[in-house]
């Protein structure tokens, strides 16, 4: 019965023989496609260095970029050139292509007759237990179509990892810049507490204040030193994380970043277009679609695109409200060519449904992630703006007026320094808000490039405020 069914598709057999003859394993297969995918998603160039001769050129380029202040784009460039994990990811293209070539060749008769196609989901079908060369030849076109799907998936997975790496470099770079800025502000806190303690010691030397007052001022200073210490460690941590991402070691780890975070950009995202852009660009959805195709091929559906064109339309934001989405999972599967009613078939059918469901759930998640990231971005933007344009000028005004009140002997030097501390605290919060903005920005960019990011709380409140925010008890 199986045989009869397969024979019916004589066109398939002719196709198999035709393809099998010209397949070879390339040196850097699929990289051009990956390049096209990443280029359209904001990554200028990627390079797959397999030979050692290009390595020296690469190292020269990296050294040049490290020499003066490192920019975020340069750091990304270095990571894309030099990150060994990414290079090993590129190798999976070659592995995948090799499998594709293998799929087009008749199986070695000696080998066990079962035909296994290992999909990303780990499923195996067509384990028909009919181990003959003849049958194997019949299955070549199917195997090849399946391997093609795998190769396409691999390209998108590799492209996704390129984007992931660039985003990780970007966010870590911003965290490093922010940590360094916060460290500089903390040094000013230290100056302030040093001045307060200095004054306190002089007052004590003149016989004007008690020992406990001076001790309180010294304790505040010592606590500030601890906070500085914590921040210095944090800067080192982010720098080492970047060294890992950029694949740097030895003398090449001596580099400095551009000093400060970029200002808030004037351009803003159009929230209406965000979701549809993320869906249209989505590598994750494309991979999910390949999984549907794979399942359909295994089930013997000749025109899986018939289902998928419908799905793709459904995946866009414009059609979200009209209810198409809800009918998707109950979509009727066309009659399969292999209809022996066996458990194998039932399993294959379920896997198609699984693939469909995954497609839908991925699309739903993309929508939610984009909306969440956009909300985080907007919150960080308005927080930064408010700190910068409203709160900081107020704190500066308070310092100015406190200076006048100090001049008029209405406020003590301790009160004046405290006003300055309050201003420094706002500066610090502003750096944190700007950092959160750029992290949300990077993650949203990644989502819009078609790569699903797990949302997380972007505000990693790294700064340790001195435990004593007031100067003693003066």
């Amino acid at each position: 019965m199986v045989l009869l069914t397969l024979y019916r598709n004589s066109l398939l057999i002719l196709g198999v023989i035709g393809i099998a003859g010209c397949a070879t394993v390339e040196d850097k297969p699929g990289i051009t496609d990956v390049q096209a995918m990443t280029q359209s998603r904001g990554i200028q160039t990627i390079q797959w260095n397999r030979a050692t001769d290009t390595d020296s050129q690469v190292q020269t380029a990296i050294r040049t970029m490290l020499e003066d202040g490192l920019t975020v784009e340069e750091a990304i460039q270095i990571a894309l050139l030099n990150n060994r994990d990414l290079r090993s990811t590129y190798e999976s293209l070659r592995i995948s292509q090799a499998e594709l070539v293998q799929a087009g060749m008749p199986k070695n008769p000696v080998i066990d007759g079962s035909v296994r196609f290992v999909s990303s989901g780990g499923g195996q079908i067509l384990d028909l237990g009919i181990a003959t060369d003849f049958l194997d030849i019949l299955f070549i076109p199917v195997r090849k179509r399946l391997a093609e799907q795998e190769f396409e998936k691999t390209k998108r997975q590799v492209a996704g990892q390129v984007l992931d790496l660039a985003t990780r470099v970007r966010t870590t770079f911003y965290k490093l810049q922010a940590a360094k800025q916060i460290l500089e502000i903390q040094k000013k806190f230290l100056l302030s507490y040093e001045a307060a303690y200095d004054l306190s010691r002089r007052l004590r030397a003149a016989g004007n204040i008690t020992l406990s007052q001076t001790a309180r001022d010294q304790a505040a200073l010592e606590e500030t030193k601890l906070a500085l210490n914590t921040l210095e460690t944090e800067v080192i941590g982010f720098k080492e994380e970047l060294n890992v991402l950029m694949g740097l070691y030895g003398s090449s780890t001596v580099w400095e970043t551009e000093q400060t975070l970029p200002e808030l950009p004037g351009v803003t995202f159009d929230p209406q277009a965000l979701v549809s852009q993320a869906l249209q660009q989505s590598l994750d959805l494309q991979i999910a679609r390949r999984n549907i195709e794979t399942a359909a091929i295994r089930l013997g559906i000749t025109q899986p695109m018939g289902i998928l064109s419908e799905l793709e339309v459904g995946a866009t934001a414009e059609r979200e409200a009209d209810g198409l989405w809800s009918v998707g999972p109950t979509l009727a599967v066309p009659i399969p060519i292999i209809s022996q009613g066996q458990p194998v078939l039932a399993k294959a059918e379920s896997e198609l449904h699984q693939a469909l469901n995954t497609y839908y759930s991925t699309a739903v998640r993309i929508r939610a992630v984009v909306r969440t990231l956009y909300a985080q971005l907007q919150a960080a933007r308005s927080r930064t703006t408010h700190l910068q344009e409203v709160i900081l000028p107020l704190k500066q005004l308070i310092v100015e007026e406190s200076q006048k009140q100090f001049n008029a002997m209405q406020l003590s030097a301790f009160d004046l320094l405290q006003a300055k501390n309050d201003e420094l605290l706002t500066q610090l919060q502003q750096v944190q808000a700007l950092r959160d903005y750029w992290i949300a920005y990077s993650r949203l960019q990644l989502a819009l490039s078609g790569r699903l990011v797990q949302t997380e709380q972007t505000s990693t409140n790294s700064f340790t405020t001195p435990t004593s925010t007031t100067n003693g008890g003066h």
Binding site: S192, A195, Q403, M409, Q410, L411, F414, L416
Partner: protein, 467 residues
């Protein structure tokens, strides 16, 4: 030379016995010859059996020049009146006033007739006065005539004597003056707020029938009060209880106080009233002895007067001092409670006196570029350093004097006695020209050598004490 001055009026219509004893002290106490007088041995209203609530028959209105020499209220004015059927009619309008305490310090206060404090009311014993009070404040008010013996219903205590005057209302007070002396008037409704905001003035009643030669040539009126005005604010804080930072004569703080100008030989009377929220004042006059001749209870018998250089004026009281201005010069007159001669001084600061500031400023300036350590040798330089201070504030500021900076503020004014001053001149004659050799000078080397004075060469000896 200047004998005692006794009011010749033994009785007013209504049977009031009045015996005023006044004595012209000079800086030569040997000239004093006080006369015994015991006007009210047991105290009382002085009504001598008559009911003060009864309407006494007033005398014809007293006239300035004929019946009295008008007083002068430095930085202030005297309330005008007009006569209606022999009654002196006056009008006080209580209202918000933007008042200047000294150049650089203004505040929104409450006063009368556009000024703070209100104008001095001046009348003559036996006058009938009718005083209209219009309330243009946002709150009800009253006027109490402090020290006057008048019918109970005219006493101006809100709720007790009368219904308070609502915003927009005009009340009429009318009574006959049956005493002479130095009195005051002030709000007696929500005094905490209304007196802290300045609603007060002086009320002078001259004795009748004093011959010209026995009247003072210069008769000054000074009302003391105290305020809380935080530097950089524009309204007195009526909630303050103890930390008053602006102390005033006639609502002016030095250098905003006009001098008391006299000609050598003038008989001078200074009437000091005190309506401070919480303070008494020890008013000290340089260059003179004086006699305290009156309180707001009446004249002090000459036998009870003694020479003084300082008079304490309790809050709610008046004291009148007299002397002959026979010692030319520029003489300080000020409260001797020293925080009362500071302007807007801050308290609650750490004591920085005596600290070593070397290197501290540079350290702090990394954060605060305009920082400068102050006060390590005292506060004397504060006014003259010209540092930026909050808008509308005169912290610790004094004024340039003829020889150096005057490090005083608040209740500080200058009595200027001049040899040749046109009679009647009240305007500032400028600084005193000292006779040669009469000003303290740096000691010359010859002087030091002659007198065997060897000053230490440096102040290192002072510092070595610490070690």
């Amino acid at each position: 030379m200047w004998k005692s001055l006794i009011s010749r009026r033994n009785a007013l219509a209504g049977g009031i016995a009045l015996i005023g004893g006044t004595f012209w002290g000079t800086n030569n106490p040997s000239l004093a010859s006080p006369v015994n007088a015991r006007p009210y041995p047991w105290g009382g209203s002085g009504a001598a059996g008559a009911n003060p609530n009864h309407d006494p028959n007033p005398l014809p209105p007293g006239e300035p020049g004929r019946d009295y020499n008008p007083t002068r209220t430095p930085n202030g004015s005297t309330l005008s009146y007009h006569l209606v059927e022999n009654v002196k009619v006056m009008h006080l309008i209580a209202e918000e006033v933007e008042h200047e305490f000294a150049p650089g310090l203004k505040a929104r206060c409450w006063g009368y007739n556009g000024q703070v404090h209100g104008p001095t009311i001046e009348a003559v014993e036996g006058d009938r006065v009718r005083i209209y009070v219009t309330n243009r404040l946002p709150a009800p008010t009253t006027v109490h005539w402090h020290g006057l013996i008048i019918p109970s219903g005219m006493d101006g205590v809100g709720g007790l004597s009368q219904r308070s005057i609502q915003p927009g209302e005009t009340f009429k007070y009318e009574f006959t003056l049956r005493q002479h002396g130095t009195f005051m008037y002030h709000s007696h409704h929500d005094e905490m707020t209304q007196m802290a905001m300045g609603l007060m003035g002086m009320f002078i009643i001259h004795p009748r029938g004093v011959p010209q030669q026995e009247r003072p040539d210069r008769d000054f009126v000074l009302l003391s009060s105290e305020w809380k005005i935080i530097p950089g604010t524009y309204r007195p804080d009526p909630n303050e209880m103890t930390d008053f930072n602006v102390l005033t004569f006639n609502a002016r703080a030095f250098p905003g106080t006009d001098p008391l100008v006299c000609r050598r030989g003038d008989k001078v009377r200074i009437r000091l009233g005190n309506l401070s929220m919480m303070s008494h004042h020890s008013i000290h006059l340089h260059g003179y002895h004086f006699y305290i001749t009156q309180t707001d209870g009446g004249p002090i018998p000459e036998s009870a007067q003694w020479p003084e250089t300082t008079v304490i004026v309790p809050t709610g009281s008046t004291r009148t001092i007299q002397f002959v201005a026979d010692n030319p010069g520029d003489w300080a007159m000020h409260c001797h409670m020293l925080h009362h001669v500071m302007n807007q001084m801050g308290h609650g600061l750490p004591n920085v006196l005596g600290i070593n500031p070397d290197g501290l400023d540079n350290k702090v300036r990394k954060l605060l570029p305009n920082y400068m350590t102050m006060g390590q040798t005292g506060m004397a330089d504060m006014g003259s350093m010209g540092m930026t201070v909050p808008q509308n504030s005169i912290p610790m500021i004094g004024a340039d004097g003829p020889k150096d900076y005057i490090t005083m503020g608040g209740m500080f004014t200058i009595l200027k006695v001049r040899e040749n001053l046109p009679p009647g001149q009240t305007s500032d004659p400028g600084w005193y020209q000292d006779p040669p050799g009469s000003v303290a000078q740096p000691a010359s080397t010859e002087d030091l050598r002659r007198d065997g004075i060897r000053p230490p060469t440096s102040n290192n000896s002072l510092q070595s004490h610490h070690h």
